[in-house]
């Protein structure tokens, strides 16, 4: 290591505070009784309990995956609290006045004002605090367009038939270890339903906040876009700083019917642990979209900056003919963070197309791997894929890997894969500083240049935010 690319020091994590509220928390550990208890607390229909129990029984027979390029001490699943909700709140609240002011203040501090007068214009927000949805804004306005946007608990009460029809249809209960766990114990999440031919009139957004120290967060998101409809959805995440690790195992399922379009964006900023790797979130997430209909399109955009460990592969099953899948990703790791992330594009239908643009940035002693599967099935005549995986290293102690898996079972398919690795070197920084540009500004310029193709895919309100977030994460990282 050269003289001035010094130890990487992170900007203090500014979302690391804990809100002091009374919670309704169940005892640690997971048994069939706990699964039943969660279901009962939420007053769920019978089919839901059965779904959960089936998942739980499968999970018991499964083992944690060991193939990701990450290392961590074994997780004791009996030490985790599987349900925690702010007290005072048995049912979904009628109005914001009934929400604990401490929680509203928390979201204010996070820059997500929920009160009527301060809301982000044209963005509807579902705020999830620990395991429970706190408030959903702009519900009435959305209802006028026929759009359902609510917590999944509420959807189970109000629209059980829709949930029953689609839940688990893209990610089956036994899909993988964490998905099975989530299916058994998920406590809340968001539900979106866009009716036929409807263009959702505003951006939808879910904001996840983990507050309690030993709580696992298992949220479940389901988005269904009927024929000819379209929606753009964004999720954001933060958590307090704890010395221990918290497990976050979410499942997101998207269903796009004929000619429908879903754009799903994530800005993930869970607590990443300190510079020595103590604490932080284990982010083990299953996200999958099903392009069920012809000409449908699902686009994933993710900016992953937080979490001690990230394990997620948002993918698309391109079943409908001419359907389109996209994956745009920026994954930044610093200090001791580890990320094994990428996508799966499964081409089933004819003339299906997928695009993968992945940008990995590794600084400090972190390790950042891209892992992606492109699979062209035997009936996917004329399928096309373009993948580009670029890695950028900052300093000399960070690692970057690319693991592309390509399986082609159809002669007419075209698959292209490009990869590059670049480095922000000391000499580049000196060059820019010799022109009066500080190291911080220099890194920020280089990073935004590197990530341009991905940021341009984010909804405008969040593109600027993402740019700023990356700069903040790397602030002071090169001395």
């Amino acid at each position: 290591m050269t003289t001035t690319v010094k130890t990487f020091v992170n900007q203090p994590y500014k979302y690391g505070f804990v809100t002091d509220i009374e919670s309704d928390t169940i005892p640690r550990g997971l048994t069939e009784d706990v699964v039943r208890l969660i279901s009962a607390k939420k007053n769920e229909p019978e089919f839901m309990l059965e779904f959960r129990l089936k998942a739980y029984r499968q999970w018991l027979k499964m083992t944690e995956p060991t193939w990701p390029n990450v290392t961590y001490p074994a997780i004791n699943y009996q030490e985790i609290i599987y349900y925690s909700a702010p007290k005072k709140k048995e049912q979904k609240l009628g109005s914001l006045d009934e929400v604990d002011p401490a929680i509203l203040e928390t979201f204010e501090k996070l820059g997500i004002p929920l009160s009527e007068q301060k809301r982000l214009s044209n963005v509807a927000v579902d705020a999830i605090f620990d395991s429970v949805s706190i408030a959903t804004t702009f519900k009435e306005k959305l209802a006028e367009a026929g759009v359902i946007f609510c917590s999944i608990s509420e959807a189970l009460q109000e629209h059980p038939e829709l949930v029953q029809k689609y839940l688990g249809s893209v990610v089956p209960v036994g899909d993988n270890y964490y998905a099975a766990l989530n299916s058994a114990v998920f406590s809340d999440g968001s539900f979106v339903y866009i009716p036929k031919g409807t263009k959702c009139p505003m951006e939808l957004s879910t904001y996840f906040r983990i507050n309690t120290g030993d709580t696992g967060q298992f949220e479940r998101t389901l988005i269904v876009a009927e024929s000819g409809s379209s929606v753009s959805y964004l999720e954001g995440c933060t958590a307090p700083m704890f010395d221990t690790n918290q497990l976050h195992a979410a499942v997101v399922e998207l269903v796009a019917l004929d000619n429908a379009e879903i754009k799903y964006s994530t800005v993930q900023n869970w607590y990443a642990g300190d510079e020595n790797g103590k604490g932080g979130i284990y982010n083990f997430v299953t996200k999958r979209g099903l392009c069920a209909g012809v000409n449908s399109k699902i686009s994933w955009t993710q900016v992953e900056t937080g979490s001690a460990i990230t394990w997620k592969y948002p993918g698309c099953i391109l079943a409908g003919d001419n359907s389109v899948g996209e994956f745009y990703s920026v994954a930044l790791t610093n200090n001791r963070q580890q990320a094994d992330t990428g996508t799966k594009m499964v081409h089933v239908g004819k003339n299906t197309r997928s695009t993968i643009i992945s940008k990995g940035i590794s600084a400090g002693h972190s390790n950042n791997s891209y892992r992606g599967l492109v699979k062209i099935g035997p009936k996917a005549d004329g399928a096309r894929n373009y993948s580009q995986c670029d890695s950028m290293l900052i300093g000399s102690d960070a690692g970057a890997n690319t693991f592309p898996y390509i399986q082609v079972q159809n002669d007419t398919a075209r698959v292209e894969h490009e990869a590059s690795t670049s480095k922000i070197g000391e000499d580049q920084l000196f060059y820019l500083s010799q022109r009066g540009i500080s190291s911080e500004d220099a890194i920020s310029m280089m990073i935004s240049g590197f990530c341009k193709e991905v940021f341009s895919q984010l909804p405008m309100e969040f593109a600027v935010e993402a740019d700023r977030l990356l700069s903040l994460k790397l602030e002071g990282s090169v001395g």
Partner: protein, 264 residues
Amino acid sequence: MIKADSQVILSVRGLTATVEGTQILKGVNLEVKAGEIHAIMGPNGSGKSTFAKVLAGHPDYTNIQGEVVFQGQNLLELEPEERAKAGVFMAFQYPLEIPGVSNLDFLRVAYNSRRKHQGLEELDAFDFDDLVHEKLAVVKMDPRFLDRSVNEGFSGGEKKRNEILQMALLEPTLAILDETDSGLDIDALKIVANGVNQLAKPENTTLLITHYQRLLNYIVPDFVHVMESGRILTTGTKELALELESRGYEWVRGEEETAGVGAA
């Protein structure tokens, strides 16, 4: 242009520097006044490029002793970007490529950082665009280079022109050209030299670091210094450069040893 009453811009006394345990500079003395052009010549490994980099604040060098006063400020106390903002500019021997950052954005940020330091208002993208197009003429550069990433895929000559373009924009008080002639064909050399000559003003100074006399046919120095083993051995006028060209650096070493002031 030598004037007896000109203000001293740069004064270097007893400057030493070490890289990876090896001492490269062993006590450099130099005084440069406003309006003057100085050339520092010397064989490979004599320390002339190190001298340029130490003035600019390159982080690789340690054990920097001695005194460097630039316009009354102790230059050694300043960070590289502060030196740049104060008016020290170094044209790099090997300009770096910065992928993903547009040349135009880079030039604007650099220009505005200097403006801000001078207490002037920063230029917006439109005003800057006008300015930069005006400055392109100094080095006869194609405007298309503005839209590309900084130096990425530029030929050697294009990179050097881009350096002089930056110099034209930043209007430094002290311009250090580190082997700017290396790797240039004669046409590119003329264009670059012509640019440097246009930018030389009575109130600023230029320090040319070069191995060959060739560049000095186009940029005529007021003083020529010969560097050897980390020291300036001898100083003369442009005739010294011509003599070096015909007799080689061995000749200077011989002179010094006869005079008895060479390194022991």
